[in-house]
Amino acid sequence: MITELGHFALILAFLIAAVQTVVPLIGAHKRWPGWMAVAEPAATAQFLLTAFSFGALTWAFVTSDFSLRLVVLNSHSAKPMLYKVTGVWGNHEGSMLLWVLILTLFGAMAAWFGGNLPPTLRARVLSVQSAISLAFFGFILFTSNPFTRMGLPPFDGQGLNPMLQDAGLAFHPPFLYLGYVGLSMSFSFAVAALIEGRVDAAWGRWVRPWTLAAWLFLTIGIGMGSWWAYYELGWGGFWFWDPVENASFMPWLIAAALVHSSIVVEKRESLKSWTILLAILAFGFSLIGTFIVRSGVITSVHAFANDPERGLFILAILAIFMGGALVLFAARAGVLEAKGVFSMVSRESALVLNNILLAVAAFVVFTGTIWPLIAEIFFDRKLSVGAPFFNMAFTPFMVLLGIILPIGAILPWKRAKLSKAIKPLTGVLVLAIALGVLAFAVQSGRSALGPVGLFLGTWLVFGAGVDLWLRTGRKGGRLGRLRRLPRADWGKAVAHSGLGVVIFGVAGLMAWETEDIRVVAIGDSLEISGYTLTLDEVKRVQGPNYIATRGVVRVAKDGKELTTLYPEKRTYPVEGMPTTEAAIDSGFLRDIYVVLGDRQEDGSWAMRTYFKPLANWIWGGSILMALGGLLSLSDRRYRVAAGARKNARKLEAEGVPAE
């Protein structure tokens, strides 16, 4: 019964979305307040109905209702409760429902907190947002209905892929979707502004928090996914340049560019049409990502079940929204006149450079991802584009970006003298170069990646520090002023140093990792990078829904016991799949990563051990970046904007004509 109600709520939400797409748009065009006002309650209703529908599906999973096809295919009564719940979005249909849930949540939030927007703009934003949810409701109802019943309910379900039964991965999709879908907000604002024919500083201020939030969630989602791959897949890889990873990385890059260019719109009323274009492209890449993951056109490690019909549907959504938005852009971009003028050397120019590098980097990832498809269709060549290509073609852009970042961050607006502006950075530059050279000398003969990473990391982190220090002015009391700096300034510094930490972590891990593969008898020891590992025993352990073969490995350094590691090989009988659970001793400067292999004929065990320097810096840096975004988001300016809403309400109440 609850299932049917959930299904019904979803259909109702679809119908409301149709109304919310059409009525406010006409209302805004004709300036009919009544028609525009439809958007607000409609957005709330859409969200509530979708939430109910999602709740109904969750209920079916929690109670293991095996009359539902989706539950049978993706759940099992013996599964721990956490994974019963996360199993809701561990599959195509359920994850699409989560996607629209977030979409309608964002739409509703724009309705609730958008009180200070000009009424026509708000009506148009909500209408465009609703058009997106209309498309995705249609997609769910017509191609991927999660509420399909089974004719003959089986006794038990088929379980969830054991690789997905993991806390880190369980929350990776929701964060990614928050990011993907958050970009739909920027898109709606961009399209609404194009219809409106007007982009000003205020528009930049409204769009920025949404983009920042989307970028922040994408950062967390991507970081979680990468961390999961690191500890779960069994050899400590953290990024594979897999099409699906790229699908989340491209919107991240574009969103990062958009966050920066909307600053220019907000502060200097320049780069308007470029910012609009970026906002359109950012969501476009989100849709392309959805297409890649769900159509199965491009083979990937974690694509969902492939279905050409679904692929076509998403392709149609992509074509309609991108085509429509870009045509609108071509027609209307000319209306958006820029106001602020700036010279070749200025913060604006540096931000333009930032945008070019990020956009081109995203473009490189895009070409690499779809090239196998293009080569097969147009040139009849079956080929692969893998990690070596991306490492080679993508890295230079990030290095360039890292080099210009601290300089651009302290350049004044409008016009600047480069020599004067970079003087405060001299010390940092010397330090960074010295450290890089030192690392190069010490490591003797290894790849230059490590030293370059150390140079960039130092340059970025300390450069961010200098930027913050400069903001405190010239005379006494600088420390006190440092504390009182706007949170946006802190956010900027924290996020930029986070990038530095990530770059150093990635470079250090790739350059200085060591590995040991061998057969170890019980009681034997091995040495890796100064650590002694001893395999004490291997035993069989029973888990809640798996059986594990667990090794007991003692780790010692200089004769001193450090810790004991328990690498496992698990078998999940329901799903019939083995997984590897690496054991990791995480440290500030290094991880020791142990994987248990097969039992050999003589009773000894194959064992793989890695010494992974700076591994945690990658995720630590990602957290710093996200934290920086959060700090910026909590800046007073946005809170003031939220407060202004009440006044706008009051204005209306006092009978001041709305527009």
Binding site: W235, I356, F389, A393, V656
Partner: protein, 155 residues
């Protein structure tokens, strides 16, 4: 009952225990330099039955066969290029994770740098144009806007 389930489970566990890792200890060559070359080559070759994994990381049997094949060629005295060419001859360019620069592939390799140049060009011409324009007079606020601004500022 529980004991019976446990018994069934352990039986199933035995059935499903599959190899879990990539390079096996018995594959490793004694010659350290040769082994290192083999590892480097393996990282650029695709496991044909996997999705986007190189043969060095892959657990598939086919990947193991390819790894052994690479080592055989190296032991036989082939250079790195000859070894890769040998594999490509048999399995096609699909095995190369780093696509060649031949034929239409130049588009792939040139796409990034070309786009960067276009971006620079566009930005510079834009900056030139904008830089020479006088600062446009910021349009005066309309009455409504002024009122809204007042209200916002009072907050």
């Amino acid at each position: 009952m529980i004991i019976r389930i446990a018994a069934v489970l352990s039986l199933l566990a035995a059935l499903f225990s599959a190899p879990v890792f990539a390079v096996q200890p018995d594959e490793i060559l004694d010659d350290v330099a040769l082994e290192e070359r083999a590892r480097d080559i393996s990282k650029d070759l695709r496991c044909l039955v996997c999705r986007n994994e190189n043969i060095d990381d892959s657990n598939a049997d086919l990947a193991r066969d390819l790894r052994i094949l690479v080592r055989e060629r190296l032991v036989a005295g082939d250079s790195d290029t000859q070894t890769v060419a040998f594999i490509v001859d048999r399995f096609g360019e699909y095995v190369l994770l780093q696509p060649t620069t031949t034929g239409s592939n130049w588009i792939l390799w040139a796409a990034g740098p070309l786009m960067l140049l276009i971006g620079f060009g566009g930005a510079i011409s834009y900056l030139r144009r904008r830089g020479s324009e006088p600062e446009s007079v910021i349009a005066a606020l309309s009455d409504d806007e002024a009122k809204r601004l007042d209200k916002i500022m009072q907050d």
